[in-house]
């Protein structure tokens, strides 16, 4: 487990041990306000996806900010258990739960909180139904529709209707609606609008089909940080699952300028072996590198050359005089915030440049 040296509240950010995941409180509050104010005046609600930060403390801030459906979205059963234990009573697990031992855990959770889960097969619906009857609980079930991604889910239209009917026929299940994860669309302007509508419309068309067949679709969950304002204006969409907006990352920077980078990895310069070559103590294990290089917005003239496991290499344009020396701090903006928080057990919360709190990330590593 990560073991940063804890320093007293009020310690200057630069004095924290490195590498450190640092979160700027004013940036976080600003991002939450930007996103949630969009939803406060609309009937469509936001369901914060906790994978974007992993922090119960941030999730509580999101719910308190209004504009939400009152609950959160999770990606794994283990993550759901952690958030159920930290005060959330409406959890939508946007994943399939198929193993008998996991179905038992899901039913146990459903005794304490309002649980919604995705399915993409009648066999799974039947297993869930049987287990929930035995456990004496009701599971809310949504049909996962496969749209843009080559992943799980049934095809839109008739296959989704057939599966919905199978769910309705299960005594222990409550058919709650439809979802798709169209994946993060990295585009701007008209292209983002047309790409988003293309996939979401397939789910809306499916909704119509189900309603004609007499089924009630309470939940229609689509979208994300990449297209919430487009998806949120489409009639029939009831909730948007977004997570990255709270802390933001380098991958979204050019597409979502309304949000600021509230999370950074603070690193230390450990070697400057030749002019223009800066080596820091934060590499792939601290920043994450599965989706691309991080940004370094606070170091003009600097460019991330690449990350190795333990080091971050920076090419620094010598015409910028930074007076940089060994021991100095350099801040990286992770390329993917989800991937970055999955590497950390704590985040250091910074207010006005000083340590304000340490928030644990208790769901880290809960892949099961």
């Amino acid at each position: 487990m990560e073991r940063p040296i804890f320093k007293p509240i009020g310690t200057a950010e630069e004095a924290l041990d490195t590498p450190a995941l640092v979160v700027d409180l004013s940036g976080l509050n600003q991002n939450i306000e930007t996103m949630h104010s969009f939803f406060r005046s609309r009937s469509v609600g936001l369901r914060p996806h906790v994978s974007g930060h992993g922090s119960p403390a941030i999730a509580h801030m999101q719910i308190a900010a209004g504009g939400t459906v009152g609950g959160i979205m999770t990606a794994t059963l283990g993550q759901s258990e952690v958030f159920a234990a930290t005060g959330f009573d409406d959890i939508f697990l946007a994943n399939l739960v198929t193993a008998p031992s996991k179905i038992a855990r899901l039913c146990s959770l459903a005794r304490r909180v309002n649980m919604t889960v995705a399915v993409d097969s009648a066999a799974n619906a039947s297993d869930l139904g049987e287990a929930s009857v035995e456990a004496g609980v009701t599971l809310n079930v949504v049909v996962e529709i496969n749209t843009r991604r080559d992943g799980m889910g049934v095809a839109p239209g008739r296959p989704a209707l057939e599966l919905a009917n199978a769910i309705v026929g299960e005594e222990g299940l409550h058919f709650a609606g439809l979802m798709t994860y169209e994946g993060s669309i990295r585009a701007e302007g008209d292209e983002l609008v047309s790409e988003s509508k293309k996939w979401i419309q397939q789910v809306l068309d499916t909704r119509e089909k189900l309603e004609k067949a007499g089924l009630d679709v309470e939940i229609l969950s689509v979208g994300g940080t990449h297209n919430y304002e487009i998806a949120g204006e489409m009639d029939g969409v009831t909730e948007i699952a977004a997570g990255s907006y709270a802390l933001m990352d380098e991958g979204y920077r050019t597409y979502r300028p309304q949000f600021v980078n509230a999370a950074k990895i603070m690193s230390c310069v450990t070697s400057m072996p030749e002019a223009g070559n800066v080596i820091t103590d934060a590499g792939r294990k601290a920043i994450g590198g599965d989706t691309g290089n991080p940004g370094i917005p606070t170091l003009p003239g600097g460019e991330v050359r690449g990350l190795s496991a333990e080091h971050g290499g920076i090419d620094l344009d010598p015409s910028f005089d930074h007076g940089l020396s060994l021991g100095d701090r350099v801040w990286f903006v992770p390329n993917s915030i989800e991937g970055c928080v999955n590497l950390h057990d704590y985040m250091h919360v910074i207010r006005n440049g000083k340590l304000d709190a340490i928030w644990e990330l208790p769901a880290r590593g809960r892949y099961r």
Binding site: R3, P4, N95
Partner: protein, 364 residues
Amino acid sequence: MDYYRPVPGTQVEDLETPCLLVDLDAVEHNFRVVADTYRDTEVKMRQHTKNIKSPRLALMQIETGGTVGGVCTAKLSEAEVMVEGGVTDILIPNQVVHKDKIARMCALARRADMKVCVDNMQNVQDLSDIADAYGVKIGVLIEVDTQMGRAGVRSNEQGVAIAKLAESLPGVDFKGVMSHQSLMEYKGEEDRYEVGRQTIQICLDVKNAIEAEGIAVGMVSSGETFTIDVATTIPGVTEVEGGTYALGGTTYDYMKDYRMANKVMGTVISTPRSGVAIGDAGLFALSGLGADSVEDHPEITVGEMLDHQIVLKSDGEMPLKVGDKFKLIPDYQDMMINRWDQYIGIRDGAVEQVWDIPGRGCTQ
């Protein structure tokens, strides 16, 4: 943090997934290969523990033999984990420059023989000043850049200058030289030996230049898994910093003596289309450098990885059904193990022991 600890005797097919498995027969075999390789050689193993992150596994190699009796760690916090776990001889082949961190290293030097690599005069001065104030000595080795373009001196002259400074200071003990190199591409055995010899020679050149100034060089710590055998043919190298060999690694075609010991087991949760199966282990559990094959299923290829799912594809009929377990062979264990809190040690198809991975996340 995850707390999954199945009881010994649990059958592998009954484990919750995804989970990180370690085949104990395979890892014990790998440790024996190293012990045999270095039984009668001058050069010995100093296992790099940045990938295994477990004092238990480090001590297993030390107990099996072929080592200098100590380990490498990439970071100071990893060194703290190893010392707490009972390892008392540590080399950090990396720089520790911040004064807070140097002080922590000096505190650790009261319980263990601490050595660190340097490439900068001011850093050597800082190490000596703080160590002197603590009443300890920190061993220093000069890092030599042989290929990677990262830290390290770029010339013999730089190496000599730092060695002279280290010799003159009270808080540091000049030990020798160190280099790390990498086999970017495997082009056959002859080329592997050639790359190993050429790069390590650059490190030996610095050693020779320092010795020419009358300063003794006791340690030449160089090499990694790809030069475990190469180093036995290079006089002057005293220790090899191998890491990957312990748990095996598929990227390395030459690692035929070593067995793949670490696997991530997943379960199929959906078979949405013909020839496609979705598994419950994704990027978070595997890393983007992840996995490119499924054990015992050469006909299956790994498609897209999502945060928590993996798309498996088969040209013909997909042999895996919903509920079936599968084992992914990781491509880059270092990055993957850093995402797990436990090893599930298995033998003969059942759990034998579960070990925490206390070095997980210790990047500080």
